[in-house]
């Protein structure tokens, strides 16, 4: 097993816990009735997002989905702006006009969050095409779920990316459910990564709950893209430990599936890895406490922030011209 640089591991752990604590806080606020918005929980997928973002540089581009909290916070969107947007406030990344499903923050490379399954892949190609055209050395990562692998845009984008050898990474977070439909009920292929071969592309399936699998896979995909060797389809096996969206029923998940995902929970596993790398319980607890404090402050900031002016509905439709 390849070792991960200790500083990088700490970075991944910090990002993972940021994603997790943000998710927990969001569910707490929703359950307490403090806020009432659409939110797509990322419990169970924290490590995949964190490892992927840790493999990128700050200026690299990311396209994600409505279940994109992991990518967004792990890539580094300032928490106050992120919470502001989720609460529909003027201080949000998009002045409250995008919301949880359309978080955009070009400063940290979060270029598009799409609410339409599979639509991010073709757009990621375009970001990567711009980098290929102007030689800026950036790579683009697009995250999506297993459900997106069956929509036309997935196939069109994969073929085009390979054809042009675009510097793009297709990260399929295979959480075993597309909306409320299980993988077995929507797909008969044994996995998604094998589809890459159909486009002449490199594809790998890794355990997204194991940092020693997901991080090296992401590193390699990023290195290939950056070196001009073209795209990679990385399929990270993981579990969506909650329903499709917050509050939705997930009684359709069989008990054995729930038992399996609890056993594979990435968080205790990562904690153990950290201890194996000689981080202490106290150090890890201090990191989480610090994140919690940051989140609490950001949430309070967002709760106290002003609502967007109603005139905003007329703005940003087309460029204002004289």
């Amino acid at each position: 097993m390849a070792q991960i640089d200790r500083d990088k591991l700490l970075d991944i752990y910090t990002r993972t816990m940021k994603v997790n604590r943000t998710d927990e806080k969001f569910r707490e606020l929703l359950m307490g009735g403090k806020v009432a918005v659409m939110y797509y929980c990322v419990r169970g997928q924290e490590l995949v997002s964190a490892a992927a973002m840790a493999a990128l540089e700050k200026e690299d581009y990311v396209v994600c989905t409505y279940r994109g909290q992991g990518e967004q916070t792990a890539k580094g969107i300032p928490m106050e702006k992120w919470w502001g947007e989720c609460l529909g406030k003027a201080t949000g990344t998009c002045k409250g006009k995008g919301g949880t499903m359309h978080i955009t923050d070009p400063e940290t490379g979060i270029m598009v969050t799409t609410g339409v399954v599979g639509s991010g892949l073709p757009i990621a190609n375009g970001l990567a095409m711009a980098s290929q055209n102007n030689g800026d050395g950036r790579v683009t990562l697009v995250s999506f779920g297993d459900g997106a692998a069956n929509i036309g845009g997935f196939h069109e984008a994969m073929n085009m990316a390979q054809l042009y050898k675009l510097p793009v990474i297709f990260l399929c977070q295979n959480n075993r459910y597309g909306e409320h439909t299980s993988y077995a009920d929507h797909t008969d292929s044994p996995n998604i990564a094998s589809r890459a071969a159909g486009y002449g592309m490199k594809g790998v399936t890794v355990d997204g709950n194991d940092v020693h699998q997901i991080y090296p896979a992401m590193q390699e995909a990023v290195a290939r893209a950056r070196a001009g060797e073209g795209p990679t389809l990385v399929e990270a096996m993981c579990y969506r430990m909650m329903g499709h969206f917050f509050g939705s029923d997930f009684s359709y998940m069989p008990p054995e599936h729930i038992a399996e995902m609890k056993a594979e929970d990435p968080l205790p596993k990562l904690r153990q890895v950290m201890l194996d790398y000689q981080f202490t319980e106290e150090e890890l607890d201090a990191i989480v406490a610090d994140i919690n404090a940051q989140i609490d402050a950001a949430v309070q900031h967002a709760l106290d922030a002003p609502l967007p002016d109603t005139d905003e509905i007329y703005k940003d439709v087309l460029e204002e011209t004289a």
């Binding site: 581009y61 396209v63 949000g92 990344t93 998009c94 002045k95 409250g96 006009k97 995008g98 359309h102 955009t104 923050d105 070009p106 270029m111 598009v112 799409t114 609410g115 339409v116 639509s119 892949l121 073709p122 757009i123 990621a124 190609n125 375009g126 970001l127 990567a128 095409m129 711009a130 980098s131 290929q132 055209n133 102007n134 683009t140 036309g152 845009g153 069109e156 984008a157 073929n159 085009m160 054809l163 042009y164 905003e312 703005k315 940003d316 439709v317 087309l318 460029e319």
Partner: protein, 328 residues
């Protein structure tokens, strides 16, 4: 100045925009030199000048084409994406409507999407039901998009340049039957601002509001009716959405009568929106109801005589103008 065709006008506008800005590039099916420079030759000769990275021939993948244009635009480039025929927009509406049109708004102004989507269509060439429709109303109904169509070579050159300059998505509709039109070249750097209609012919009795190929019909009919003492003002919208309301309303206030004319089917067409707007805002000036003329509400048929019967007829246009002005 030399005479140029509309095809040449479009080619010249794209060529000079690419020369001026390295961020401008073309992508679409069959657009590069290997495939002959586009099915209607609009990108002919550009691969030789700018290379295959900037004239990217793509697979037959409309969703991937528009998605790539959107992404490249977000990264600061100015892609010109070709959807070979307008009916094929049905394949990539999600990228146009949910993404290109909305990303500026949904991001609070952070991610404008400056893309030009070139597409061609037109009734009268025997292409049948899936290669002929004018679908401008689909896009006019979506906030965040400009919809543009030229009726002559000079406007084609100027509108294309302005569309490439625009910091928002533009649906640029080229009518197949207009590619061969010839007119004087307005010269390098020529721009026709988006959102500005042209008064293609001045008149005093009735305002005929149209765009694209039917401008030619309107002008021909106006010529004929002038001999009978009916003075028709022809307005070429040039930008269909958002359209030049001020020019339209001023014309109707002057003439007191209006007809909207388009090749697209009549029900729920852009003519209905314009007519409704005129009736709301020019009621006191109107001497009669605003009339609408459009294509027949069926699929465009194949057989030549059926196709010709499907198109808005000049005879109907004449009859409706005469009925409006009370000279039937």
């Amino acid at each position: 100045m030399a005479q140029i065709t509309m095809t040449q006008a479009l080619n010249l506008a794209i060529d000079e925009a690419m020369a001026d800005d390295p961020g401008v590039f073309c992508l679409g099916e069959d657009v590069s030199a290997k495939q002959g420079g586009g099915v209607f030759k609009v990108t002919s000769g550009l691969t030789e000048k700018y290379g295959e990275h900037r004239i990217r021939a793509t697979p037959i993948s409309e969703t991937a084409i528009i998605g790539a244009a959107v992404g490249a635009a977000l990264a600061g480039q100015r892609p010109i994406a070709e959807i070979m025929l307008m009916n094929f927009v049905g394949v990539c509406m999600d990228q146009i409507v949910n993404h290109a049109a909305k990303l500026r708004f949904m991001s609070g102004g952070q991610t404008p999407c400056p893309i030009v989507i070139r597409t061609t269509t037109g009734v009268g060439v025997g292409f049948g039901g899936q290669h002929s429709d004018m679908l401008e109303a689909w896009f006019a109904h979506v906030a965040g998009i400009h919809v543009v169509t030229p009726s002559n070579p000079a406007d084609a050159r100027g509108l294309m340049r302005a569309s490439i300059d625009a910091n928002d998505p533009v649906i640029f509709i080229e009518n197949i039957l207009c590619y061969g039109l010839k007119a004087e070249d307005p010269g390098p750097g020529y721009r026709v601002p988006l959102g500005k209609a042209a008064i293609a012919r001045e008149g005093t009795d009735i305002s005929l509001i149209t765009y694209g190929r039917t401008v030619l019909d309107a002008l021909a009919v106006a010529d004929d009716l002038a001999k009978e003492g009916i003075s028709v003002e022809v307005i070429d919208l040039r930008t269909i959405a958002p359209y030049d309301e001020a020019t339209v309303l001023a014309s109707v206030r002057k003439t007191g009568r209006a007809i909207t004319l388009h090749e697209a089917v009549r029900p729920f067409g852009t003519g209905a929106e314009i007519a409704a707007n005129i009736q709301e805002k020019c009621w006191d000036s109107l001497k009669g109801p605003v009339r609408r003329i459009g294509g027949t509400f069926s699929a465009v048929p194949f057989a030549s005589h059926l196709e010709q019967a499907w198109i808005p007829q000049k005879s109907d246009l004449i009859a409706q103008i005469k009925a409006s002005v009370g000279k039937l």
